[in-house]
C-alpha cells in the first residue's frame, strides 16, 4: 500500500544500514531507547537490530499501552463487570492481560461478565445509545493517540444526555513516562541503563507535536528523533541519532515529517484539554507511581467518570513474582532475561502484560526474535 511499501524497501534499507555502519565510531557505544511499542514491533519484525553494527544497541521502552497498565486497573474493569453488572467495552489487547485470581477479562467472561471487544470508542457510545437499560463503561486505555477519540465520545455522550455511559479513564502521557525513565535510579545513579538518545513516538507525536520533547534535549541533554513506524523510518532515525551523538548534539529532530509537525494536532489537543485534566499521580506497571502522568475527567464531565459512578476503587496489586515485565519496561532487562520467557510464558498463555500485545517487548521477541538468538544472532544479516 502507498506510503507503507516504499518505507519497507530492502534496497534502501541496505543503504541506510551501510551508512550507519560507516558513521558509527568503533570506539563509541550508542544505546538508544525506542519508546514506542510500535517501534519495538517494527525492529523485531524486520530484524532491524541485525542490520546494526555492534556499537549500536536498542533498548525497549515503556510505550506499549497494554503493557504499562498495572494489574489493579484490569481488576477494576473486571470488578465493574462482575460485581456491578455493567457492560465493559475495551480494545482487544486488554482482554488477555493476566489479572488477579487467575483471571483476565476474557476469563471473567466465562464467569458471566459482560465484556466486549470494540475497535473504536464510538462503538462503546453506540452500544450505550442502542441499549439504554444497560450501563456501559468504556475501559479507556492508551497514550495520546487514543485519548482524543475518548474525549470526543464523552462530549457526545454529554450532548446526547446519556445516563448509562461512563469511562474508566486510564489514559497516560508519553512525556511523563520519558521523564520517569530519565529520573530512574538505573539511568541517573547506577548507570546500569546507558541511554544516549530516544526514538520518539510516531503517532503520539502526530497529536502532541515535536515540541513537548524539547525539555529532554535541553534539561537532560538527550537527543530525540521522532520516527515513523516503518523499518526504514526507524533505521533513518537511528542514523540521525548516531550523528547527533558523534557531533555532541542533543536536539529534537523529526524523521516523520510526513505526519508530524512542531505543533501537532491542535484541534485534538483542545478537545483533550476540554474534557480531561491531569491526575496528581498514576501507577504504571514497571515505572511505579508517576506524578502527573495520566488523565482523568474534568469536574464538568464527572458524571461520565466510572470511578465516581461505581464503588470500585483502584487497588495496587504486585506483578507475578517471576515476571520481569517491570524491569523490561524500564529498559533494565530484556525478554530473554526472564526465566519464564518462551517456556511458561508465551503469547498463547501470557504470564505478564509484555507477552500479550504484539507491541509488547516479550511478544515481539517471541514472535520474531527467538530463533535468531538460537542461531547466534547473525542469521538474518544480509
Amino acid at each position: 500500500m502507498k506510503y507503507i511499501d516504499e518505507f519497507r524497501d530492502g534496497e534502501l534499507a541496505k543503504g541506510i544500514a551501510a551508512a550507519i555502519r560507516r558513521e558509527a565510531r568503533p570506539e563509541q557505544r550508542y544505546a538508544f531507547m525506542e519508546f514506542c511499542g510500535g517501534h519495538t514491533h517494527a525492529i523485531s519484525r524486520y530484524g532491524v537490530a541485525d542490520l546494526l553494527p555492534p556499537e549500536v544497541r536498542m533498548i525497549h521502552g515503556p510505550g506499549c499501552p497494554v503493557c504499562v497498565l498495572p494489574i489493579g486497573r484490569i481488576d477494576q474493569a473486571i470488578r465493574l463487570a462482575l460485581d456491578e453488572g455493567v457492560t465493559v467495552c475495551t480494545y482487544g489487547d486488554t482482554l488477555r492481560v493476566p489479572a488477579s485470581e487467575g483471571l483476565s477479562m476474557l476469563r471473567a467472561r466465562a464467569r458471566g461478565a459482560d465484556i466486549r471487544m470494540i475497535y473504536s470508542a464510538a462503538d462503546a457510545l453506540a452500544l450505550a445509545q442502542r441499549e439504554p437499560d444497560r450501563q456501559v463503561v468504556f475501559f479507556a486505555i492508551g497514550f495520546e493517540t487514543t485519548t482524543p477519540p475518548t474525549a470526543l465520545v464523552i462530549r457526545q455522550a454529554a450532548a446526547l444526555g446519556l445516563t448509562n455511559f461512563s469511562v474508566l479513564c486510564c489514559h497516560v502521557l508519553t512525556p511523563s513516562a520519558i521523564t520517569a525513565i530519565l529520573e530512574s535510579p538505573e539511568v541517573r545513579e547506577l548507570g546500569t541503563v546507558p541511554l544516549d538518545g530516544f526514538i520518539g513516538p510516531a503517532h503520539v507525536s502526530t497529536i502532541i507535536g515535536s515540541r513537548p520533547y524539547a525539555h529532554f534535549a535541553e534539561e537532560y541533554r538527550k537527543p530525540v528523533v521522532i520516527a515513523g513506524f516503518e523499518p526504514l523510518d526507524v533505521m533513518q532515525a537511528i542514523r540521525m541519532l548516531v550523528r547527533q551523538v558523534n557531533d555532541g548534539r542533543a536536539e529534537i529532530e523529526n524523521e516523520f515529517t510526513r505526519a508530524v509537525t512542531p505543533d501537532g494536532n491542535r484541534k485534538a489537543q483542545a478537545l483533550v484539554a476540554e474534557v480531561f485534566e491531569v491526575r496528581e499521580e498514576f501507577e504504571w506497571r514497571g515505572l511505579g507511581t508517576v506524578p502527573a502522568s495520566a488523565l482523568r475527567l474534568r469536574p464538568a464531565y464527572a458524571q461520565f467518570d466510572a470511578e465516581l459512578r461505581f464503588p470500585v476503587p483502584y487497588a495496587a496489586v504486585p506483578d507475578h513474582k517471576a515476571c520481569e515485565c517491570g524491569a523490561i519496561l524500564r529498559g533494565v532487562k530484556r525478554p530473554q532475561d526472564c526465566k519464564l520467557f518462551g517456556t511458561v510464558c508465551t503469547p498463547e498463555n501470557p504470564v505478564g502484560s509484555c507477552m500479550v500485545s504484539s507491541e509488547g517487548a516479550c511478544a515481539a521477541h517471541y514472535t520474531y526474535g527467538r530463533y535468531r538468538d538460537v542461531a547466534g544472532g547473525t542469521a538474518s544479516q544480509a
Binding site: 500500500m1 502507498k2 543503504g15 551501510a18 510500535g38 473504536s120 493517540t145 477519540p149 470526543l152 515529517t257
Partner: protein
C-alpha cells in the same frame, strides 16, 4: 493496538465521516479530529479516527534522503574499487 496506517480518503460522508480505501477494502472512518480533509488526501487512521493528514511532499523528501544514504555508499564503494 497502536496500529495506525496511512489510508486514502475516497468519499466524504455526512457527520464528519469518510470512506477510505484499505488495500481495496472500503471502510468508514471519522474525520472529527482533522479539519479540511478532501477526497484523495491520505490520512493516518487509528482506532477508527484520522489522526492527521499525511503530507505527500514530505514523504517524497524523506524517501529521497533515505535513498541518498545508499547512493553515497555506492559512490564510496566505486571510489574504493577505482583506487
Amino acid at each position: 493496538m497502536c496500529l495506525a496506517i496511512p489510508t486514502r480518503v475516497v468519499e466524504l460522508l455526512p457527520d464528519h465521516q469518510a470512506l477510505v480505501d484499505l488495500g481495496g477494502v472500503r471502510k468508514a472512518i471519522s474525520l472529527e479530529l482533522v479539519d479540511g480533509v478532501v477526497v484523495g488526501d491520505y490520512v493516518i487512521l487509528h482506532v477508527g479516527y484520522a489522526l492527521t493528514r499525511l503530507d505527500p511532499e514530505e514523504a517524497r523528501q524523506t524517501l529521497a534522503l533515505m535513498a541518498e544514504a545508499g547512493l553515497l555508499e555506492q559512490a564510496l564503494g566505486d571510489a574504493r574499487e577505482g583506487a
